[in-house]
Structure formats: C-alpha cells, structure tokens
C-alpha cells in the first residue's frame, strides 16, 4: 500500500516537473512571440506612415480625384448620358471603393421617372448599381455613410406618395457587396430623414429629420436594428467624435455645438455670428480638434476655422475674398495633419496644414452640382498592419 502511494506520488512529481517544463516552454514561446510581434509592430509603424490617399469630389457628370503627390486632376468616372450628374460620394473605410449617387433629378428627364441610384466602384473598376434612391436626399445637405467595417452603406431614399404628391425620405441600408436594401427609419408624412452617419463602433446611426413643423430639423440617433429612435438636438450635420462618445452638429439656435452621444451635456463650441456659418464641423482623427466652415456675414468670404474639442483656442486658418456661394465642407486628412476644403470664392479646392500654413490649390474646380454645398472625401490608403 505504502509502496503504491509512493509510486503514485513519484508519478505526480514527474508529471509536475513535466508540467513545469511545459509551462516554462510556453512562457518562453510567449516571450519570443510577443517580442517578435512587438518588433514587427514597431517596424511596421516605423516604416508605414499612414499615407493619405486621393481626395475625391464630384464635378457635374464627372467623379474626380486629386492627390497631394501628383499634380493634376484624375477622372475616376464619368456618367456619359446627357443631363446625368454625380452628387454624393464617400470612400469606403479601407479606401478601396468609392460609393456615389448618380442620375437625373426630378423633372430633368421625363423618360426616367425614378432617377437616381446608389453605386459602388472599386478603384480601377466599373461602378455597380446597388440601389435606387429616388431623390436621395438631394437639395438637403446629405452624405452617404459606410458602416465602419465597410460592409454596408446607409443612404437616404425618397418615396413620392401618389395620392398626396408628398415626398418623404427615409434612411435605408444596403450591403456594399450587393443585396436587398432594408429600411432603417420609418418617417411617414411631411418628413425627410437624410444625412445618415454611422457611429464609429457601428452600433448607432445619427441622421437628420426635416419636417414641415417646428423644430424644422432635428438630429436623431437610431440603433442599427431600427429601434429606439432618440432625439438628440435641434440642428443638422451630426458628426461622431472618433471615440463615438460625442456628436458635434450645427445647432439651430446657437452655432456649432457638441453633445454627448445620448444628447445630454449639450454645449456651445463656437457661436453664430450672422451669415451662413459656422457649420459642417469635422473631427480630427485623434478627436482633439474640430474644423468648421464659416461665413461670418451673409454674402461674405469663406473661412476655415479649427477649435479644440472643449471649445478653447478657436483659430482662423483661411479666409477668402468675397463672395462665397458654392463651397465644400472642410475635412481632415486621414493622418490628421492636413485639411482640405473648397470654395468658389477661393477659386477651387485647396489643402492646407492643420496649423494654417502651406496653403496649396489642388484643383480649380469646386463642385458645380445642383446642391449649393458639395463635398470632398479623403481616401485612407489600405494599411498592412494591426489586427
């Protein structure tokens, strides 16, 4: 009996040693793997400066792109049918595809009743039609929004009710690889839901609901399953902070405002001074600053401002001569070092450093689409590291 116990004990000790050896081996392996991974990551971050890609914008029936690296304007796509225009556009999060809206707006072409469509185009490929979207929110400031994982596109789609002749718009979602679109919002009459903005964690969408009543427009959030529609504030142009905790927007009474994602703690960032600004805020990629457009007085110059996210240190980066009528909202480069914008008063599309230096004209064009304000979309080039 004693011998048996001793043998069992011996066996256990042997196993314990083996286990300890195994553990050591695992630890060593982990150290080696972690070390090499760290070296790999360091090398990768050292070598791979996150490159800014091309800035895309629409100009009539052309989809154009400019790059800081190359001179000149590159044509990505042209819609060759007469009267055809390209309106909204957005690079996918991985920078490999471009979504845009193309077609005829109401009354232009009687032969084609429902007129505009959402397309997606791989760089160097041909556009594929994803969905019909009617007016697609045209006439209101609206943008396409890629889900942060690049799998879906949210857009505004109009329905004309034959009885009343009223148009309503709702937010729809379609898989970017093609598939059946589904409706996210359900506004029924005298309302237009436009400008969807996917939250950085992909769980919520912010959008703007325009109505015929008061308040005339409102920022809402909705869950990705279409439930829990929640009013955030009276205003438009919602922009999620990169961490998804706050939303900046054009407040209708005060100026550029920032609220927590649930609509609480609403605070004024930069007050309204008259004219058409300030507006269309955009967060820097690190979430520390915002850039916005301002036209201090009606029919005046175009101005680009930055401000800290807490409302301190407003700084005017650019001011054009008189008088602005067509403009493109300022946006940050993916690496956060530069800002691009466009204005007819400035004479084209420009890029400058985030501190206001190094102004450079990229193209003599500013979008001449029927919308008074056009948009730019800055491509983020594919990255090879980090997972």
């Amino acid at each position: 009996m004693i011998a048996f116990v001793r043998r069992a004990r011996e066996r256990l000790t042997v196993r314990g040693v083996a286990m300890r050896r195994q553990k050591l081996l695992i630890i060593a392996l982990v150290v080696v793997v972690a070390g090499s991974a760290g070296i790999g990551a360091a090398t990768a971050t050292g070598l791979l400066v996150r490159r800014n890609g091309a800035i895309a914008f629409a100009h009539g029936n052309n989809l154009l792109a400019v790059s800081l690296k190359r001179p000149g304007v590159r044509r990505l796509w042209s819609c060759r049918k007469p009267l055809c225009n390209i309106y909204q556009l957005a690079w996918s999060p991985d920078g490999r595809r471009l979504a845009f809206v193309q077609g005829y707006f109401d009354g232009q072409d009687p032969s084609e009743a429902s007129h505009m469509f959402l397309y997606v185009m791989a760089v160097g490929g041909k556009p594929e039609r994803l969905a019909s979207c009617g007016d697609c929110g045209r006439g209101l400031w609206t943008q396409l929004s890629w889900s942060p994982d690049g799998k879906r596109i949210a857009y505004s789609r109009s329905v004309v009710y034959s009885r009343s002749g009223l148009t309503t718009e709702n937010i729809w979602i379609v898989p970017a690889a093609g598939g059946k679109p589904h409706r996210l919002t359900h506004c029924r009459s005298d309302c237009r839901d436009v400008d969807p903005r996917w939250s950085p964690n992909g769980r919520l969408l912010a959008f703007v609901d325009y109505t015929g009543g008061t308040p005339w427009r409102r920022v809402y959030t909705v869950r990705r399953d279409g439930s829990h529609l929640t009013a955030i504030a009276n205003g438009a142009d919602p922009q999620w902070s990169p961490d998804g905790r706050r939303i900046a927007f054009d407040g209708d009474s005060r100026g550029v405002e920032v609220a927590d994602a649930d609509g609480s703690h609403n605070r004024l960032l930069y007050p309204q001074t008259g004219g058409a600004g300030p507006g269309v805020p955009s967060w820097s990629p690190d979430g520390k600053k915002l850039v916005f457009f301002n036209t201090p007085n009606s029919g005046s110059s175009a101005e680009v401002w930055t401000i800290n996210a807490d409302g301190t240190a407003p700084q005017r980066l650019y001011s054009s001569g008189c008088c602005v009528s067509v403009w493109a909202a300022p946006i940050w480069s993916p690496d956060g070092r530069k800002i691009a914008f466009g204005a007819d008063a400035a004479g084209g599309t420009y890029v400058l450093n985030a501190d206001g230096s190094g102004l450079k004209q990229l193209s003599p064009f500013v979008s001449a689409s029927p919308d008074p304000s056009s948009m730019l979309s800055w491509q983020r080039l594919p990255e090879r590291t980090h997972h």
């Binding site: 829990h228 990629p285 690496d335």
Partner: protein, 416 residues
Amino acid sequence: MSSFEWMPDLAAALDELVPVGDSSRADWQDVVARVDKRRLLQQRGRRRPHWSLRLAVVVALLFLLLAGVATATYLLVRSNGDIALGGDVGKLLVVDPNGPGLHAVAGCAAWHPGEGQCLVEQPAWSPDGTRVAFVRGRYGGMPLHFSLYVAAADGTGVRRLALCGECGQFTVGQHLGWSPDGKWIAFSRDNGRQESLWVTAATGGTPRRLTECLAACRGDYKPGWSPDGRQLVFERLGTTAKPGGIYTIRADGSGLRLIAKGGQDPVWSPDGHRVAFDDSSGIEVVNRDGSHLRPLTPGRWRRGEIPPRDPAWSPDGRRLVYFATPGPGPQESFRAEVWTMNGDGSGRERLYRSGWRLIYWAPPIWSPDGRMIAFSVANDPAAGGTFVINADGTGLRRLSSFAFTEELSWQTRPKG
C-alpha cells in the same frame, strides 16, 4: 397491548386446534402456552443487532448523505466569478463583482490616427469558467474582418480560432455559444452576403459548417446549445417573402426545424424542455418541439414603442429576467427597466428603472448561483454604468461607470 395484535397467532393456533375438535380449558391453556413459546422463539430469531454495528451503519449512512449533498452542491450550485463586458475601447473588460473596478485584458494593438475603433465583443465564458471566448477586430485597417478568439480566464494565451468576417455584429445580441461540455463554440460567420452558423473546437482546428443560409435568408445568429448538448437553437433573419424565426438543429447539422416564426433572441430553459425568445409581442415561450407557444408578456405596443426583449432563464429555471425600454418619453428618448417573472409569466416584478436618454445597454444576465442579476445601462453618465442587483430587487450596486457595451457574460468560478 391488545388481544387484537395477538389475533393472527391465536387464529393460527386455533386453526391448528380445529382438527383436534376439543375446546376444553386445558387445551386452550396449552394453545396459549404454545403460542407464547413460538413468539418467544420468533423474537429471539429477530434479535436486535449489536450497538456498535448499529452505530457504524448510522455513521456510514450519515457520511454517505453528507458526501452526496457535498457532491450535489459541488456539481449543481455554481459560485460567481467575474463579469466580462464587450466594448469599443479595444480591450476585453473584466470586473470582479466583489472587487474594485474594471481591468482589461486581450486588447488590440495600439491605435494610430486614421484607424477605426478596435472592438472586443461578445464575451462568453466557458461553462467551467476557465476560458473566455470573444470576437475582436479593428475597423478601418486591413483586413476589415473580425475573428473569434479564446483566452485563459486571466486573459493570457489569446488564440485565434476562426476568421468570421462580421461575426454577427450587425444584429444586436450574443452570438457565441459554448457547448455544455466546453469543447465546442458555435458562431456566426459571413461569406460576404449572408451569415451562417459554424462550429469550431474550443482548442482550435478547422471549423465546420452547421447551417446553410441561402436564398430568402439574411443570416443565422445567436446559437445556443441545449443543456443536453444535442441540439442548438438559433435565430434566422428572413425576408418579407420568407420570414425567419427560431430554429433548432442537431449538433451534427441535421434536423433543421422551425419552432417559432418571427422570433429573436432564443434561450433554452435549464431543463432543456422550453425555449424563451422575444418578438413583436414581447417575451414568449415555446416547447423545444415547437408546440405550446405562449406569450408571457401580453400587451399592445403603439408605433415607436418597443416590447420587452432579451429574456434569460434563472439557473434553476423558475424565473426569467428581461429588459424593457418604455418610451418614447418626454425628450423623445427611452429608459431602461429590468424585470423578472415566473416561467409562466406570472409574478412580474420590476427590479430597476433608469432615467431617460438611454443609448447603450447590455441586457440582464443571471449570476451562476442565481442570486444576482447584472446589466449595463448608459444614459446619464453620472447614473449609468454596469450594475449588479439581487434577484429580489434589493442591493443595487454600480460595479463600473463603463456602459458602452451590449453584452455581458458572468463567469462560473472554476472548481478547485
């Protein structure tokens, strides 16, 4: 002491006497004496055992009883471990309900300007509490896909089990299902268009397909193993032409069966006989074969209102906890409520109610011992957070102010 008790013997004796045919007094005396003698003999035969033997038997019985109770307690009553939270802060967050604050494990690599958020979602502790599975990925980088991982309980030894693309992230809810024996994990995996269910060994290996989501199917989500490990229940998203619902399927991929049309968020009862789920009329329960469908939270909901959802069974299978979001309220927003009720829908009780402006939440889950309930509610940052509350509604405690999560998982404290 009665003659009545004597009767059988007496009767027997009298029977013996009958052939004699004599009933004289002497004979009678003789009969009584014989009967007495026989009783005496019988008593001697049934002599009581020695006291030491009796003591030994009693001790042995007591010991067996104690051992049985201890084993049963060990096997059945599970003790509470840590709570894992999904989130968008690039780490798997873990909170000890009795300890201080959150700690983070198994994170993504450091963030660089221009990259999207790193999400660690769908935490799921293994049934024995020694491992945790989760889905992790970073938006904006390449590749865009998320993967399924498993790690030890302390967050070390992170191992990638499978690439799963979207991994069911677009639908709201828990998407990882551990088999009861802890050997397998079921998950949603997308092929670019639809998502089907796959199963992988928790130790690694080639995943195998469980369901095939084809035409008129937008995705299969939220797999849950039956307690006997033979079947899985899941939610299929359909189209307007062919609505989805709650399906069961055998673990080998055969025997697909629709048990309830149009439902979501299915959960097996601990006895494995029933499945609770939610749909447009609130919480419902159906037998595992699809029979006897019954609503547990009857009511009517106007447009914009949302019926109760996200049921979860208590470990003893007697009660359900669920989440309600009354509203829209005065600020066109919603509030959160946590309710419990019996398995038949009776005895409804509200445990918690938040303020308005609800944005994120993690639906309530039971502690492994069934005494507490955990949930997350983000509304007012001062009042929101991740909470535990006793199952009777007392003792609300905020474990952390972090609430940007949609899933919680409560660890069963590992044995030994």
